[in-house]
């Protein structure tokens, strides 16, 4: 049996029919083709699937898509008006919007100026501090950091460590990530 859900994803209203067993993570990745949100452990232990729902960082793998009915969800794609985001316009069922109609992507002009221009300040800080290696944990880390900044514009190191406490990174040793999140406020 399917259930009709209506929710806001990155500011846009989406309506879809979903089965009860579908998780919000599967819905975001397969239903909306927003593959920036990662499927790591699938058990709420790694943080790779973190999105912001009604202002709070949550694990998309532990939430059923039907539970998100009426909610506002932010994913990593929502941080910038990225021309690469497939989720644009009126959200048809299939993947659309490869972005190739954008002159920026066709090489006519760079996106903004310099490395990371056009990105969210948290994303720029991650680039500046070398906080990304394989990148798999990065979207979850950045969404957790955004949820932190949304409620606390001046977090100290302890607050950052707490906000990222449930996020696993197998590459960086965490310090560059914490440094990056702290560096956002001095940008």
């Amino acid at each position: 049996m399917n259930y009709t859900i209506t929710l806001k994803v990155n500011g846009r209203t989406v309506q879809r029919d979903v089965p009860a067993h579908l998780t919000l993570l599967e819905f975001i990745r397969s239903g909306l083709q927003l593959t920036g949100t990662k499927h790591g452990c699938g058990n709420g232990e790694c943080g790779a699937c973190t999105v912001i729902m009604d202002g709070k960082a949550v694990r998309a793998c532990l939430i059923l898509a039907v539970e998100a009915n009426g909610c506002a969800v932010e994913t990593i794609e929502g941080l910038v008006e990225s021309p690469l985001a497939p989720f644009a316009g009126e959200l048809p069922g299939a993947v659309t919007g490869t972005g190739h109609s954008h002159p920026e992507i066709n090489g006519a002009s760079p996106v903004g100026e310099g490395v990371g221009a056009g990105l969210h300040p948290i994303q720029r800080a991650f680039l500046a501090k070398g906080a990304v290696q394989c990148g798999f944990c990065t979207p979850g880390m950045i969404m957790a950091a955004k949820a932190l900044y949304d409620r606390n514009p001046n977090p100290d190191r302890a607050a950052v460590v707490e906000a990222l406490g449930g996020h696993l990174c197998r590459c960086t040793g965490y310090q560059p990530i914490i440094d990056a999140v702290l560096a956002v406020q001095t940008e």
Binding site: A20, G44, E45, T50, K56, A57, R59, E162, G165, G166
Partner: protein, 282 residues
Amino acid sequence: MMPLHMEYVKPGGLAEAVSLLRQDDACALAGGTDVVVQMREGKLRPRLVVDIKGLAELQGITGQSGGVWVGALVTMAEIVKSPLLQAYRAVVQGAGCMGCCEIRHRATIGGNVGNASPSGDAAVPLLVFHPQVVIHGPGGQRHLPLANFFRGAGKTVLQPGELIKGFLLPPPPAFSLYMRHTRVKGMDLAGVSLAAAIDRQGQVTVSMGAVAPTPTRFPQVEELLSGRPLSWEVIAQAAEVLSAAITPRATSLRATPAYKKEMAKVFLHTALSRALEEGFGQ
């Protein structure tokens, strides 16, 4: 693998929730941080998921005749921030160390107790406050002490159609503390945990997690410690009694029985030292 044919209902009221939960293979869903994991692991295969998050009667933290009412849907994040619950420090500490921010935003106190894990980070400290569990079901409402709610690992007294409405906490004790040991600093389940409280008459309450099939109190230890000044001799004696009283299973996942028996002593000693430092138990 998630149960592919399950159905989902979000009832608008308590009566509807109860009648849905009376059906065979129905399962209440609150924060989902245990239920969804158990469904994926195949441990829970409900035919019907009843999403109780909309039930107003299960929400809120309010003062009530010197104590506090905590609705079953109150999240760990809400417990940590609640001004009314700060006097119940052990449960604030338990809620604050559970999982991580994202888990604490979703995980509920009713869910943690209803899941009846031997090491529940809300259930173990809650026990030392002598709360009543308020249960709503087909026969109406009933209350019982939390200590009588657990029936085994993952097992409770809840009958089909019943759900936890909330918890009634008596006035807070003078002192309380929760401690747990985990294998890593970050996200982990407690390998062994202990909560202690001392009320204004010098009555001591002690509970432990992950040393028995359910969160458990230790009346023989409580009796030794209550109504007298806490000397180092009496603390040491109580620690030995506590250590001898626990019989962790040999197949414990996160710590060996011998280690848990040692940690029981360390935790009790640490908790009561802290009480003395803070001026209680003299």
